[in-house]
Every structure is written in structure tokens, then in C-alpha cells.
Amino acid sequence: MIHLINPSTDPYFNLALEEYLLMNEFDLNDYFLLWQDRPVVVVGRNQNTLEEINLEAIRSQGVEVVRRLSGGGAVYHDEGNLNFTFIVNDENRSAFDFARFTEPVIETLDKMGIKAENSGRNDITIAGKKFSGNAQCRFKHRLLHHGTLMFDCRIEDMVKVLNVSPDKIVSKGVKSVRSRVTNISEHIKQPVSLEQFKDLLVQTVRDGGYLQGDRQLSKSELLEINKLRQKKYISWDWVYGNSPPFNIQRKKTFPWGTVDLRLDIKNGLIEKCKIYGDFFSNRDVTELGRDLTGTPYRQPDIDHKLAVMDLNSYFPAANPGEIEGLIGDGLVIK
């Protein structure tokens, strides 16, 4: 197994790197990586992104959003979080043994005098509180196991960005499970920095006899990974559009009446838009709904579409921006 040293804190690059190492059929080495991201929410493979994040908090705190290859729920990374990844050959389908990969973490903490244990299928806990969430992804005969390690994360920020908005959204997407969380730093007896913890973890894996050496990414690898980052991980299509189909309902009462908006979104596009309400209109609003069909569910696209429509004929009493805000409100990504 090779310890791959990756200093990048770009979440899109880091997830592209994982995919590259998992799926590159010309490099079948086993890899171990420790890496960090700048503040980001990472949603699971089959989650509806808009159902998992608080847009207002995401925007005001400048937190980014990305989708990962593996399944499960949304997590938050910041400079206080360390991620670990194992990518190994798994010819005989080892039945997704999680303990094999979480063992070095538990052992490292044990050396620091902290008792940690596997909990449920995917978590590692200290005193019953989660500090590590784990997930796996298999591609052909290779298996990726990765996990978060909350060392000294800003838990208040985590709570804010994962505190979902009150819009009524219904989908078949995978839902996140809320857990009580803790930072490793809260349980440390002598001062240990995240960097020192990282070194200890590498040492544990090395002592286990798995590591053959260290290396960094080559120029050609960086080029390939950056291509994947641009093409997939940073794209709206992957982060938002790839969400399972969902319905959203948004209802708002204005002085001139109540508007009840229902949207069906599939592959990131408005598949159906129905508008109900008790407001006065000069024109059948079903037309407006029909005209929005096929528009990407993304603010600039909706703004663009509405700009050329005669909104005033549908909502003569509405003030400028109110309808745009309602249809667009809660949307992300400029």
C-alpha cells in the first residue's frame, strides 16, 4: 500500500482524486490518503442536494457544496476535519468489512488514551458520540473506504449548514441521519495538534505493515484529476442535477393573495410546474407553469426565462421581484 501525499484542500479536486485512484485500470496499487477540505458540505451519492443543505447558511458562510461517489448522508468538512481514504484491490468481495479500515483510527486514539469504538455500520464514536462517518464504494474489483475524522470542527457551523430549510421537499433520495457528534480534541489529555494526530495515524498504518512507501501525484496524474474535477465534480449537473427526482412545494401569502407553487424536478430540470392560489389574474397561470417546463432548476436559468414572460398579466397586483423570488427562492449557484 502506498501513502499518497495530497496537500490539496479543494473538495472538488479531492473527490476527483478518489475517483481517479478507484477507477484507473492502469494503476492497481493499494492507496492510503489523509486529506482535508476547506469548508464544504459533501452530500451522498443519491441524495437530493437541496433537501440536505441550508442555502442561507451556505451562502452567508461561503461554504461550498459537492457530491461524493459513495452513499449515505451529508457531512460537513472544515479545517478541523481530517479525512482518510483506503483504496484497495478486493478480488473476492470481502463483504464490505468496515472494521478492517477503521481499526487504525481506533488504535491511534487508543495510543492517545482515548477509547473509541465502531458503532452501527458506519460510525466511530467516543463516549457514544459520533466523530467519524464512513462509507464505501466498489468499482469492478477495487474498493474505496473513506471516513471523516472530526478533530476540532466548528460544530455550530456544521449544525447551521446542515439545518435544512422549511420548504416541503419530497423525494426518494437517501436521507441523512442526525447524530450527536463530538470532536476528538475534546477528549485529548495532553495537547495534540491535528498535524500530530495525522502523523500518528500514518505511523499506525505503517506499523501495521501495510505501507510500502510515500509518494506525491505526478504531473500527468494532476492533469487527469483536474480534468475530472472540471468535467464532473465542480459541475452543477453532478452536484445538483444528479439528485433523484423530487417535488417541491412553496406557498407564500402576499397582500394580494396566496400563491401555492408545486414543482416536479427530474435530472435537474423542471418537469412540471403547477401554480395554485386565490389571487386575481388576467391570464391562465397554467400557461406560465407550462412555459417553465424544461428549464433547469437553477436561479440564473429561471431568471432568464421569467425575464421574457409577461408576469404582470398573470399576477397584476404583484410587486416586481415577488414572483421571481418565489419561484427562484431557495435556489443556489449563480
Binding site: 451519492r45 443519491n46 452513499g71 473476492n92 464490505f96 437517501v174
Partner: protein, 127 residues
């Protein structure tokens, strides 16, 4: 481990049921048992053209995300819609619930597949 005698199999634990030039493709009992409770299936699109060995679905279970490959090349003519709202059907009866039906370009692709006996041997070795 249930291995029906009227199907063909792959090393990656997919099954194929041949009906004329159509191939029903699904995952085996071994695969569903290995994955555990299935929570989401990313399906291919009808009319997708695929080569033998291409990914046709991605299955998320409580344990992992796994890619499913199509052992025959051709055009997707039908998908099992029921899996979109009830992915657990793959756990309940993996042979009754196919993932997709492929209109095969070339029946020679079938020559690469395993007989039930050969697949049974593979499962025994894997365990």
C-alpha cells in the same frame, strides 16, 4: 445461495436471461446478500446504447455503492421502473426483478458468460 439453472452469469455477479434477441439483466442472490439492504438504484435510460461491460446501473446499499455492468452490448429497451420507488425488491427477489432489458447487438457476447454450474463454483470459491 439461489442459482437458477435457466440463467447465465458473470464474474461480477450479474445474471442474464435470454429471450430471443432480448437479454434481461439483473443482480444475483449472492450480490444482493453481499450488498445488504438496497436503498437506491440509479437506472439507465431507455434507448441508451451500451457496449458489453459498460456500467448500466449503480446500486446504493446500506454498506456501499456498487456499479453494475452489462455483460451484453446493445440498446436498453426497457428498465424496471419499480426499482425507482422500491429498490428493496432487489433484496426480496433478485431474479424476478431484473434491472433492464437489452436488445442485443451481437449474441456472441453470451459466449463469455458463465453456466450456472461454473457460477456456483465461483461463489463457493469466493465464500
Amino acid at each position: 445461495m439461489n442459482i437458477p439453472q435457466d440463467l447465465l452469469y458473470t464474474n461480477d455477479h450479474e445474471w442474464v436471461r435470454v429471450d430471443g434477441e432480448q437479454a434481461y439483466v439483473g443482480i444475483t442472490d449472492f450480490a444482493q446478500d453481499n450488498m445488504g439492504d438496497i436503498v437506491y438504484v440509479e437506472m439507465p435510460e431507455i434507448d441508451d446504447e451500451i457496449a458489453a461491460g459498460d456500467q448500466i446501473a449503480v446500486i446504493e446499499s446500506v454498506k456501499a455503492v456498487s456499479s453494475i455492468f452489462c455483460p451484453v452490448g446493445g440498446t436498453i429497451i426497457e428498465i424496471n421502473d419499480a426499482l425507482e420507488s422500491a429498490p428493496e425488491l432487489l433484496n426480496e427477489d433478485p431474479y424476478e426483478n431484473y434491472v433492464a432489458i437489452v436488445k442485443m447487438d451481437n449474441q456472441d457476447d453470451l459466449d463469455q458468460l458463465l453456466s450456472p454450474a461454473a457460477y456456483e463454483k465461483l461463489c463457493a470459491e469466493t465464500n
